[in-house]
């Protein structure tokens, strides 16, 4: 008899039907991709980063293509948390998938206000973005210094009534130190990596391609960096990890899980192929079948390293 393959994962008390989610900022609020597939096939959806008030974002151009990657400087364009709660949650709740609200702020107080407000809304998980490279205040500034991480996470955690995921920036010297600071301050889980700060110059005009000069690098180009950082964070802390950064295929998913992630997010790959997350899920199933893996949970952190760093 063939045993049923178990794809479900427990992510700080929330059951994801499979480990595939969408990365914040690459999936809007789901409307667009609901035209391409049934969102209920996904383990979860993390929505576009939300702020207390609506934000226009940065002027165009906001994107540049780089070798197997993209740079973006959208700058957290979003309709604000109130409209998200009123208009977007009801839409997303039509689908049987975990809802992850990604929230940002300019100050500790704003983060706290966001976490407090979203806690009372119908979402499953809160993802606190302390790593956006494209905003002047807040964002990455919070995620690159351990004492700032401690301050903002511990303050927010006191108000969180839903599991709190803290999204980390890769633009740091020691990701393990940041991860420990977040967990010590009360983070229920970590998600990483946000984008790597990058820059692209048009050699004909000698000008930066992006309006904001610099932007966040994502896409297949960053996968090895993401895998490395997830691996390092797995060694440092024991909370669940949502691994992301350059995932495109089922094998990329497996790699991220082996490095230590409990679930993953597909991001930039969706921009190139709307069905990328669905395809990655199908490929993951094929991999598990071919390798006789009964539960996806067996893969988490199962990398075999002769000498641990």
């Amino acid at each position: 008899m063939v045993k049923q393959m178990d794809l479900s994962v427990d992510f700080c008390g929330v059951t994801l039907k499979n480990p595939i989610t969408t990365a914040s900022g690459t999936f809007g609020f789901g409307h667009e991709y609901a035209e391409f597939f049934d969102l209920s096939v996904l383990g979860g959806v993390s929505v576009k980063g939300l702020t207390p008030a609506p934000r226009m974002g940065n002027p165009p151009p906001r994107i540049a293509e780089t070798p197997l990657g993209i740079l973006n400087c959208v700058g957290l364009e979003n309709p604000g948390i109130d409209r998200f709660i009123a208009e977007e949650i009801p839409f997303l709740r039509q689908y049987d998938t975990a809802l992850i609200a990604n929230v940002s702020g300019n100050t500790v107080e704003e983060y706290c206000g966001m976490v407090e407000k979203i806690s009372d809304a119908d979402v499953d998980l809160i993802e606190m973005n302390i790593s956006c490279p494209n905003v002047k205040c807040g964002g990455m500034a919070f995620g690159t210094q351990p004492q700032m991480v401690t301050e903002v996470v511990s303050a927010a955690k006191r108000l969180a009534k839903k599991p709190l995921i803290v999204k980390l920036s890769p633009n740091v010297t020691d990701i393990a130190e940041i991860a420990r600071a977040a967990v010590d301050a009360g983070a229920d889980a970590l998600s990483l990596i946000n984008t790597l700060l990058g820059m692209h110059i048009d050699v004909e005009t000698r000008k930066p391609v992006l309006s904001n000069i610099m932007g966040g690098l994502s896409g297949p180009a960053v996968l090895p960096v993401a895998v490395r950082m997830v691996y390092q964070v797995r060694q440092a802390v024991s909370v669940p990890i949502l691994g992301m950064g350059g995932i495109r295929t089922g094998k990329d998913v497996v790699e991220m899980l082996l490095a230590g992630a409990d679930a993953v997010a597909v991001g930039t790959a969706t921009l190139a192929d709307p069905w990328a997350s669905v395809r990655a899920l199908e490929e993951l199933k094929i991999f598990m079948k071919e390798h006789g893996i009964g539960s996806v949970r067996e893969l988490s952190g199962a990398v075999e390293v002769a000498v641990s760093i």
Binding site: G28, P60, P61, R62, I63, G69, V74, T270, P274
Partner: protein, 256 residues
Amino acid sequence: MQIPHPCAVAVVEPLNQNIYSMVVSAPHLATELQPGQFVDIKCGDSNLLRRPISVCDCGEGKMRFVFQQKGRGTIWLARRKTGDRLDVLGPLGHGFDLSKAGSRPFFIGGGIGVPPMLYAMKRAAGGEVQPTAILGFRNHLSVILEKEFTESCETVVMTDDGSYGRQGTVADALLERIAEATAIYCCGPRPMLKAVAAIALEKRVFCQVSLEERMGCGVGACLVCACALRDEKNGATRYGHVCKDGPVFSAEEVQW
């Protein structure tokens, strides 16, 4: 529900030094595509993002697009051969509203903005509707699609240096004829769009323009292709997104 469209390349041919015409078989897309909409084409494995390409003509299960070979993606595209398969998403975006064309619509294109105007003009033409096309190019070497336009409508060709057609801009030609125009549809470089929009606004003629911006997803999720629009209620600037809200916008709502 959107579905993947594997399209077989029928014909690829250069129209001049760096502009190519490609006809692909696209049974579903050809019946669904509205003028001014675009498709998003995967250009090989080493180019991550798809390339948004506007449709130049459509019908009988085939779709034609004319594109400029500019970067790695379009170079890859230009090298396709008959029988090759393309991975195409579409139809995407909002196209031209031809219900407002009236009896004498003007279709204005500049440079690589000329191709999408062909399909729009052809869809509008017929019966009481007699379109006029005004096409602008840098010089005689860059003139494309003139024959296709003249087959279906009165066509005025302008070149910057006067080496072909008449010397001057499309705006010069439009000004001479504006009294006749019942509607204006336009695609081309931004300064050209701005000049045409200014004439249309002054003379109170219905005018739609097709905008361009660097795109990511092409479907409205990633928000990178922002364009400044004027808020209808208070006149403040707000961002629309070229891929989903456009690429066709009312000339009045664009923040020039």
